[in-house]
Symmetry: C2
Subunit: 115 residues, 2 copies
Amino acid sequence: MIRRMDSGFVVRALGALAHESRLAIFRALVVSGPPGMAAGRISSKLRIAPSSLSFHLKDLAHAGLVQSRQEGRFIFYSANFDAMNGLLGFLTENCCEGSACAPRASRSTRHGGKS
Amino acid sequence: MIRRMDSGFVVRALGALAHESRLAIFRALVVSGPPGMAAGRISSKLRIAPSSLSFHLKDLAHAGLVQSRQEGRFIFYSANFDAMNGLLGFLTENCCEGSACAPRASRSTRHGGKS
DNA sequence: ACTATATTTCAATAATTCTTGAAGTATGGA
DNA sequence: TCCATACTTCAAGAATTATTGAAATATAGT
């Protein structure tokens, strides 16, 4: 499911990560790998009130950065590595081509239309 | 001058980029390279009201993602590639280590299937 | 000094996001 | 069924962020 990298998705994903709690949640999910972590465990581990956590997880999920699966009474959340990879690719290509950022990669002179 | 990559900076930088106008501004500055662009030119090019633009540029500057220099009556803004590089490095290292994300070494040399 | 240009700051408002207790939904076990 | 656990949604206020006209600041040229 290769997600088209329009600026709408990028803005949403950046916004989702642009919050102390959500960045911490995402980092914890990255560390926990594909199996992910149950919501309750994230809540106790990061000391975030359940309802706040739910709010933030919903935001991350809506941005496409995390996904969930139910397992018994638990809901496991896990990082969407493809989405993060896509975001990083976009930032590298679109926000880093002018100078030292990219190691001498595409010097694309074509910037047709806004996405 | 190497900036410490604490989550405070990261959250601020992500937040600065997490807005349609600011992302567009930053992308334009990246394309314009080290010389950057005068505020008025950004304003007319992106159709952003001067006072709004000022507000957003201040946010980007405060996040360390852009810098300004005065040249006569004009104020030129330019992207801070080091900061962007640092942000990308943080994201790659801290938010992508669990699975398929970037192979670190060859990141950004080529990304198949952009928009 | 005066005028025009370039940009920022102010101020008031509008819009969005965050937080959390309480109530609601869902699952599993006795 | 009843109860406990796991998690989400609701609601309403608090906090933050965004927008923009008008006023202010700064530089350049005359």
